[in-house]
């Protein structure tokens, strides 16, 4: 039982971490190369990796999506350890609107303009910090969604992930609060109720014992056994 429980808990934990890794914002140091707009088919299961920027978009089978092509500084440990190596990264640029994830992004067109403004060449690079969420997967054509772009001086800026710090502090506080609530509820409501039920059950049990005693005595009085 404990083994099964641990396996289930591990699966839940892995899912929670995956959702957090997909949804929470991360920062990349990038140099914008180009931006483009392309019609995307949305008819299959990879729909979950595209946004629903407004209510009509939920039923469309295809629509235009804006993209930002960049050269990106690679990093280790979710961007905490910066490296000199470079790779490429293509971001989609879509509104999240009022839906999940709750970033309430409505400034897609402005962001595309800012990205266009930051275009640069390898000879004269203009570095910027790209805030984004989501995963890049070439196999199923999934792209991370760009949320903000901010010019920085060099390729090694200091980035403090304020959003994630606040998010995890609030999350831990909430979990501790829920735990306190649950303990109070158990101590003051469930345990007394269980005590009552136990008392009642003991009475039933005693009564049954007594009846059984009487019935079997009566039976014995006939059979003599």
């Amino acid at each position: 039982m404990r083994f099964v429980r641990n396996i289930l808990l591990a699966i839940v934990a892995v899912f929670a971490l995956l959702i957090a890794h997909y949804t929470l914002p991360q920062h990349d140091v990038v140099r914008v190369v180009n931006t483009y707009q392309e019609r995307q088919d949305l008819g299959d299961w990879t729909r979950i990796f595209w946004s629903n920027p407004d209510d009509q978009s939920g039923t469309l089978v295809n629509r235009d999506v804006q993209f930002i092509q960049t050269v990106r500084k690679k990093s280790f440990l979710f961007g905490f350890i910066q490296r000199d190596a470079e790779g490429v990264m293509v971001y989609r640029n879509e509104d999240t609107g009022w839906r999940w994830p709750p970033y309430f992004k409505f400034d897609t067109a402005s962001l595309q303009t800012e990205a266009d403004d930051l275009r640069s060449t390898p000879e004269e690079p203009k570095w910027a910090v790209m805030t984004h969420y989501g995963w890049r997967n070439e196999l199923i054509s999934a792209f991370p969604n760009a949320m903000a772009i901010k010019p920085v001086d060099g390729p090694k800026p200091t980035v403090i992930p304020w959003f994630n710090i606040i998010f995890f502090v609030v999350l831990i506080a909430l979990l501790l609060f829920i735990r306190a609530m649950w303990r109070q509820f158990r101590e003051r409501t469930i345990d007394p109720a269980l005590d009552d039920t136990r008392d009642a059950w003991e009475k039933v049990d005693e009564f049954a014992d007594e009846r059984r005693g009487r019935v079997s005595r009566w039976w014995r009085s006939w059979t003599g056994r």
Partner: protein, 92 residues
Amino acid sequence: MIGAIRLIVFGFLALSVVYIAVSFYSRSIRREKLEDAWAEDHPGVDDSPERDAYIDEGMIDYQQGLRRKLILLVYIIPAIAIAVTMFIVNAT
């Protein structure tokens, strides 16, 4: 805009569940504190009309107090968080 209305309606319902849970918790804590205070001042007197009156009075004070109204922050804080997120994501 339908999205905004949907968020407001379902957000309000979800936060109302939280509000009710937190109010129950807060009342329970208050009552427990009153019981403990009584037990400390009157050791051995567990079940008396005076004790009931003392606890009822404390609970009425709580009903009229500021702490109970602070639970309304359950609605206000998420609304502020959404407004701040919208501002930071879109305006800066």
